[in-house]
Symmetry: C2
Subunit: 447 residues, 2 copies
Amino acid sequence: MHFLVIGGDAAGMSAASKVRRRRPDIQVTVLEQTLDVSYSACGMPYTIADPSRSIDELVVRRAQVFREKLGIDLRLGHTAEAIDRSGKRVTGTDAAGQPFAINYDQLLIATGASPCLPDLPGFQAEGVMVLKRLQDGRRIKEYLGSRPIKRAVILGMGYIGLEMAEALRRLDIEVSMLKPRAELLPWMDRQLAAVVQEELEANQVDLRPGCPVQKILQRSGELRVETEQTDPLMADMVLVATGIRPNSQLAEKAGLALGPAGSIAVDRAVRTSDPHIFAAGDCADAYHCVTGQKTWIPLALRANRAGWAAADGVLGSPAELPGVAGTAVFKTFDLQVAKTGLSRAEAQAAGFEVRDVVIVSSSRAHAHPGSSQIHVHMLGDAVSGRLLGAEMVGREGVAHRINAVAVAVHSGMNLADFAQTDLAYAPPFGPVWDPLLTAANQLLKRL
Amino acid sequence: MHFLVIGGDAAGMSAASKVRRRRPDIQVTVLEQTLDVSYSACGMPYTIADPSRSIDELVVRRAQVFREKLGIDLRLGHTAEAIDRSGKRVTGTDAAGQPFAINYDQLLIATGASPCLPDLPGFQAEGVMVLKRLQDGRRIKEYLGSRPIKRAVILGMGYIGLEMAEALRRLDIEVSMLKPRAELLPWMDRQLAAVVQEELEANQVDLRPGCPVQKILQRSGELRVETEQTDPLMADMVLVATGIRPNSQLAEKAGLALGPAGSIAVDRAVRTSDPHIFAAGDCADAYHCVTGQKTWIPLALRANRAGWAAADGVLGSPAELPGVAGTAVFKTFDLQVAKTGLSRAEAQAAGFEVRDVVIVSSSRAHAHPGSSQIHVHMLGDAVSGRLLGAEMVGREGVAHRINAVAVAVHSGMNLADFAQTDLAYAPPFGPVWDPLLTAANQLLKRL
């Protein structure tokens, strides 16, 4: 039995490792396009912000460990180019440019996602960069270390863009952020998004939403970012963080069914439309635990879990994964921003009769020093009474607090029941009525 | 219609306010023994730790506000002494020592709890204090401000004792802590309790568990705490924090049914065995949401909720409260300590086939600077697969993280389902696998 994995990041290495740990008699081969496996990609903005740290600190486990400790045949620099489903064979090119062909009994596609690069002039210039793979992080760090960088332009205002805005400001680099759409964090309630905007502006980030880029010109070592609306922006570096798309081309070419956003469609046991092929990680879709519908939410935890589920399938004991809640958190400057469940637009699109509320509460108890504001946006369904999701913004007590809502969303809890949950209280950590309970109590009045 | 409330703290004032807000035609009288209503008692240790702050900052709403804004007939310094249930009448003594008698249609007993004072010689000495009501906090603060205090002895090692140990150490006072039982935090897993013990010792708290006090002697302004095991301890101040007991004497004398620990027995709508009398707050019992059995867990959030539930009953639309999960958190020095659901002993006593696990994880992602250890103790039932509870200790990310387990416990979630919840991840806030998920995954292997 030969289990072949395309892609040696979170999902791929989780699957490969679990199969080898449980069944050392199964031969496992992993094809990885880059030279890196098993690293904490999300840590890159923080490593970039600190000149004393190396990107390679983010490597969790080196290739050698997978080979020697787990007996995984890990082939770096190997690019898979085609899947022959009837012949159960993958072909491609190795690091030396030589073709290879490998047969499989079971295949996992764990090819991840790639940054979206707009098809506009100048995006291939030297100082124009993306941040997705470890080699992207190395390149940015080398670039920052090799010349004086005074001004950076970030295209996009998603998680990566906002984390990198903080990182570059910490290096005392002037930062401008541009995006085509008019709204910052369009999925979020406007009142909460305004808090994020204030934080960015307080940290001298020059925000320009509603400002699509036309082209980038390189002139005597400087980059000139041209837009319709404004004078050109001069920069020493441009970070393109305009979203990612699933790496599903290989699957598509092989005729596998696709899901939302062109991700690879998988069932609850992460099997594709071909019973011998699994897909897991950022390249694959998932069920949303609130709507029951397919969604594409590329996040690290799901990638690990889906990798394990693929391993379970290979091991002959397929496990069905429950849906994802879309829980996410990021930090930008001193602000924690978190969400779980459905946004207002998502809930409306899914047919719920949405009621929502925004409340402002405190991060600490009445009169406790050091308290700051916590904003909560909570959503419920007027028909079923169900809690649909929440968003939170604050300087403390947001990142882990959102998990209470995530668990409620997973269990299909009603708002009335959530409002009665016994949440922890001590003055340094919140008011007697936790901000989530205050939001739930207020929202109940609108159902 | 006359609604009479005995006790003007969290439960009493919540009930009185809600009734007046909804039905201004209902006459509401509150009898409060002290001169304080509506304050954040849990904030006292932090106020005591800071000489620049006054205890009175903890007052949330003054008596005048309740009288003028809500039209509540709030009588301070009024001690209720007897309830004549057949005559529906409460008698007692007012601040001037004059007897009073008040009739009611509906009565709420919200008399709270009082510190347990051992019946031993010397506990009435001037420097021997408790910390429960606002006047206790004022007394401690005045005492600390009026003379040089170098050494304090704290009797008891519960929440209050541990919070006050931190407060007194911050004031550079030497602290010794004594208790009769051998274990620190006996409800907690030993490995987690050891982390708390290390933190206390690292902050020069002299811990003496297994050391019952025999008496306290006062000698030329100094207190001498005598024990069986050790040489006497000399102190300028002794804090007695050996637990609290429900103030149910009035209810007991009136023949009302009592529950666990001598608290007043109430149904899910917080009605006592007399249909015209409610009880709410620290004096009353509750159902535990895991066992379905009666329990006595005196905490602020429940007091507020039970007060509202009593108001609902008075307003003719009784609401049933779901059970409590026993969620609690406290801070001692730089450590956050939290729990929810059942402890091992509670789970065993309730007849569950308990399996548990302790894991050590990180507060931040791999290689993220500033990470510290998080210890999780998680418990499940081998028969049903249900998640029964958890305890956590750590320097960050504990206080709010426990709420995810609290919600799971409320919804009766299985460990297998909890292990699949989509919890938030970003490098500054935890590893990809949240410590709670790691604990759940490990515990699943033992079920």
